[in-house]
């Protein structure tokens, strides 16, 4: 039994079909990269899995259980957490308070505090523990989202462009952080625009185009897949690699 089994997931917004019959499986312990040009339906797919959106049809199974269409907080309770591409920090709360919100549904205030401090340490924000989230840089906010999501103790973590919009110097640190989460046994589904990053992280890559899955294979094969190169990476990339 795979950790996640998605079958024929479909979502349309008016006339635009954002996700069309997407089926995929993610095994326990995998890190799967989700790639595709803008508008290919990657974030919609995350929202459907997490319950932020309801699919028109299709099913999402997690650990064998049908979780399709459940509300987000229930799905989180079952062990799926996500970060947001468009960051959503609790701006008027401190870093510590932000991360504590993720831990609180499962434990007491004092336990949540200890737990949150650990996650803050892991993502390297310990110097900012008592700073308001609104004062953080974009890179720091990405780390905050990671810590907050990790505080919910997920089995599956959906990362929506963690390295997007971050200056180049910060990217290696974030990649190392994601690799650390993977070593801790969290299964990851990662949306990435940077091919370099996704090749480094993923043991399998799924490519979407116009809401459809066009490729699902090992990274080196995806990188040489003719359809992917044409539709997404472009001929220049193919030539250089």
């Amino acid at each position: 039994m795979a950790l996640v089994e998605v079958e024929n997931l479909t979502k349309a917004f008016g006339g635009v079909v954002a996700n069309k019959n997407i089926s995929l499986r993610v095994e326990q312990g995998e890190t799967v990269g989700l790639i595709g040009p803008n508008g290919s339906g990657k974030t919609t797919f995350f929202s459907l899995v997490c319950g932020d959106l309801r699919p028109d049809h299709g099913t999402v199974r997690f650990q064998g259980e049908d979780i399709t269409g459940l509300p987000p907080h229930i799905i989180n309770g079952k062990g799926i957490a996500r970060t947001f591409q468009k960051l959503r920090p609790f701006s008027s709360m401190t870093v510590l308070e932000n991360v504590m919100v993720g831990a609180l549904p499962r434990m007491s205030m004092s336990q949540a505090r200890q737990e949150a401090l650990q996650h803050i340490e892991v993502v390297g924000l310990h110097r900012m523990t008592h700073s308001l989230a609104s004062t953080l840089s974009t890179g720091q906010r990405k780390r905050l989202e990671l810590a907050r999501a990790m505080a919910t103790k997920p089995k599956l973590l959906l990362l929506d462009e963690v390295t997007g919009g971050v200056d180049h110097k910060s990217i290696p640190g974030l990649v190392a952080l994601i690799q650390r989460l993977r070593r801790e046994g969290v299964t990851l589904l990662v949306i990435e625009h940077s091919m370099k990053v996704v090749m480094e992280l993923a043991n399998r890559i799924i490519a979407l185009h116009l809401g459809e899955k066009i490729c699902d294979d090992l990274p080196e094969r995806v990188a040489t897949d003719r359809r992917v190169i044409e539709l997404y990476l472009g001929k220049a990339y193919a030539k250089n690699h």
């Binding site: 932020d52 907080h73 957490a81 008027s92 205030m109 505090r113």
Partner: protein, 356 residues
């Protein structure tokens, strides 16, 4: 292992506690104060000076009740008078029909307000955006209309509560003194509840929902439930104020207890003091109510809305200069000068809310 509280770095300073103690003693002895300062005779034992403070306590109570929902949890209501009125009518009707002591009536009013809150909240909170705010307005008007046409509730004529002899059981006195201390106690109650809420999981969830509801639910928090908790707390305390009002004035009608203007006034008081801050509602009320009373006495009898004109001017000034209200002005401009010690954050930063 030492038990660590949620936010130990936010302890109030010793100086803060001295200020609270002085204020506490002041409000306790205020109705008996009578002294001479040079040629000036100060006398707070008049019924009117006591009445003024009762008004302040009552409005601060409703403003803080509103603040729990709108300030902390971010769900703005423009119809809070509905819960106030439900409280007033519940205790009064139980008293008149079943001779039930207003103390139990007050509790029943609070529970009735929670019931109304759930009826309003369950459908409207499911929608995102401003539906809740719009619905609150409509609900308040609807409730007023119902009471205007409800025979048992005296329709538009209202209810005259029976005058009974002074007693705690009857919740009636000729003197204003007992009302003064009851209003003060109710205000303390809502402030204690808010204090506890800020430091419990509720406070974290409320503020998280206000800042970003989608992110909050993605972290496993059932946002609908917690919005309903905030609304219920808020409705409960508003209703206590309503029951108190009915016993204090001994006359209620749909125009006085369901007045739209009162819903707006409560929003103004909390906003002026500082939305989402612990002290905002009482600070706003303690400034605006005496101003309004002064204006009303000084210019009154000329047709009405002078006090509202003054409110309007003050609110525009606050909105333009410092949207976080008086508490925001204090935090930004006064406290940094008073307390220069690096890194000292006192307990009131919990409701940082409106500042950002």
């Amino acid at each position: 292992m030492v038990e660590v509280s949620a936010t130990p770095e936010r302890r109030s300073s010793a100086r803060g506690w001295v200020i609270y103690a002085v204020l506490g003693v002041f409000v306790l002895v205020y109705p008996f104060m009578r002294f001479q300062v040079g040629p000036l005779q100060v006398d707070f034992t008049f019924p009117y000076t006591r009445h003024l403070f009762i008004l302040i306590f009552l409005y601060a109570l409703t403003a803080q009740a509103w603040n729990i929902l709108a300030g902390y949890c971010g769900q703005v209501s423009f119809g809070h008078v509905a819960y106030f009125g439900i409280g007033a009518y519940t205790s009064s009707m139980l008293l008149m029909n079943f001779h039930l002591t207003p103390w139990i009536g007050m509790l029943a009013g609070g529970l009735a307000a929670i019931a109304l809150a759930l009826v309003v909240g369950i459908p409207t909170f499911r929608l995102t955006g401003h539906y809740f705010a719009i619905a609150t307005l409509a609900i308040a008007e609807t409730v007023q209309t119902i009471f205007m046409n409800w025979n048992a509730a005296g329709e538009a004529k209202g209810l005259w509560l029976p005058v009974m002899k002074d007693s705690w059981l009857n919740f009636q006195w000729k003197s204003k003194l007992p009302y003064y201390y009851i209003a003060l106690a109710l205000l303390c109650l809502v402030y204690l509840a808010t204090y506890w809420m800020e430091r419990s999981k509720l406070g974290f969830y409320f503020r998280a929902i206000r800042d970003d509801a989608v992110a909050t639910s993605s972290l496993g928090v059932d946002i609908l439930t917690y919005k309903l908790v905030a609304l219920s707390m808020s409705a409960f305390f508003s209703a206590l104020a309503g029951s108190f009002y009915a016993q204090y004035v001994l006359f209620i009608d749909p125009f006085s207890v369901f007045q739209l203007q009162h819903s707006v006034l409560v929003v103004l008081l909390a906003t002026f003091g500082g939305v989402g801050t612990y002290w905002g509602p009482i600070v706003g009320t303690a400034i605006l109510i005496p101003v309004s009373e002064f204006v009303r006495i000084r210019f009154g009898g000329t047709g009405g809305a002078e006090d509202l004109i003054v409110y309007g001017v003050l609110i525009v000034l606050i909105a333009a200069l410092e949207p976080a209200g008086i508490v925001g002005i204090y935090r930004k401009h006064i406290r940094p000068r008073l307390f220069r010690r690096e890194g000292m954050i006192d307990v009131h930063d919990m409701g940082q809310a409106a500042v950002d």
